[in-house]
Symmetry: C2
Subunit: 205 residues, 2 copies
């Protein structure tokens, strides 16, 4: 196996280091977070850091890098209190990835890609049209992470739109059936096929 | 599409709700966190919440549920300050999933499964043998998440062991080449195949 100690990691060149360390947590979720400013400017940006925090209440979190593209996302959330999370699937992968380009806040990624807004149930923020899972989110709280100046933003699910046939009898949502993507490192994409569901485990007597 | 509003989500039966909401963030990472207590009892538990926080310094986080199985993981980390993160691959999937069973802290999951300890470079915590990516971690800090009483635990990478041929020229690690797993919901597993790496994006002029 190849071994890197902490000093070697610190001394890697920037691009090599971000490629390496970004792959280290394993496969990541692939989502578009969409928002609207108080002045009605829309914004949509790709995130690979959306995580499940709990089901009761239904909470999701994501990590915001202070120096990265999606600052408009955060500013809009602060202005309105709401945002949407939309799963990235095979057909919108290229456009979703393009939202990582650094556009000024007066340019909406909805205008420079084929991604389209989708407004539902009077929710303030737009959803991404044809996304198989569209989640209406309300900002709840945030934590400033001292060790690297990032931020964990936490929201509560207000509404959940899921393509009909993905939901199974017990509530399980088969992401593979909608060709939903996962992210490897900074820029690798896969469309996983579900292999199996394992049973609830009890200790071996 | 099927729609659930927040009241409907709150009123779902427990199992349906945890299956549904656990699928909502998208695909999740699949890791085994291994630890050793001050009294040399080993512990290994499956986590689907390991996330990349930053590359400089190299930081990973994970979410701990106060009521869930892996409390021994946390207690051991508090005692020694160190732990390992080991990627789950196809060949150890069943054993990895079995670590979710609720064993007493005096029983090591290394003893009741085919998972084996692997000690390297005098690091205090064991790695999981044959895992294609084994990461030595040092505890840095934690955040108590008020909205649902979970905890974000943050650690710094101290050492990184990666199967040789997975690392590409620019530092990218191809997780698919090691048959590394991803998790869908509570108990769904997939072994993704890398589809493509997209280029760095700049605004369209």
């Amino acid at each position: 196996m190849t071994y890197f100690n902490i000093d070697e990691i610190h001394n890697l060149n920037h691009l090599y280091k971000i490629n390496l360390i970004n792959s280290c947590a394993g496969f990541k979720s692939a989502n578009l977070i969409a928002t609207k400013s108080a002045e009605n400017n829309t914004n949509v940006a790709i995130f690979s850091s959306v995580i499940h925090l709990g089901s009761a209440p239904p909470l999701l979190g994501f990590i915001l890098r202070p120096t990265s593209v999606p600052r408009n996302t955060y500013e809009n959330i602060m202005e309105t209190g709401f945002y949407t999370i939309n799963h990235i699937h095979e057909n919108i992968l290229k456009d979703a990835h393009h939202t990582s380009a650094k556009y000024n806040s007066n340019i909406s990624e909805f205008d420079v890609t084929n991604l389209e807004t989708d407004y539902k149930n009077n929710f303030v923020a737009p959803f991404v049209k044809n996304s198989p899972i569209q989640i209406a989110m309300k900002y709840i709280e945030e934590y400033d992470i001292k060790s690297n100046n990032t931020k964990l933003v936490i929201g509560e699910i207000q509404g959940l739109h899921i393509k009909n046939d993905l939901i199974k009898e017990d509530g399980f949502v088969n992401l593979s059936e909608a060709n939903i993507a996962t992210i490897n490192g900074l820029n690798g994409y896969a469309i996983p096929t579900l292999k199996e569901r394992c049973e609830y485990q009890r200790p071996i007597k």
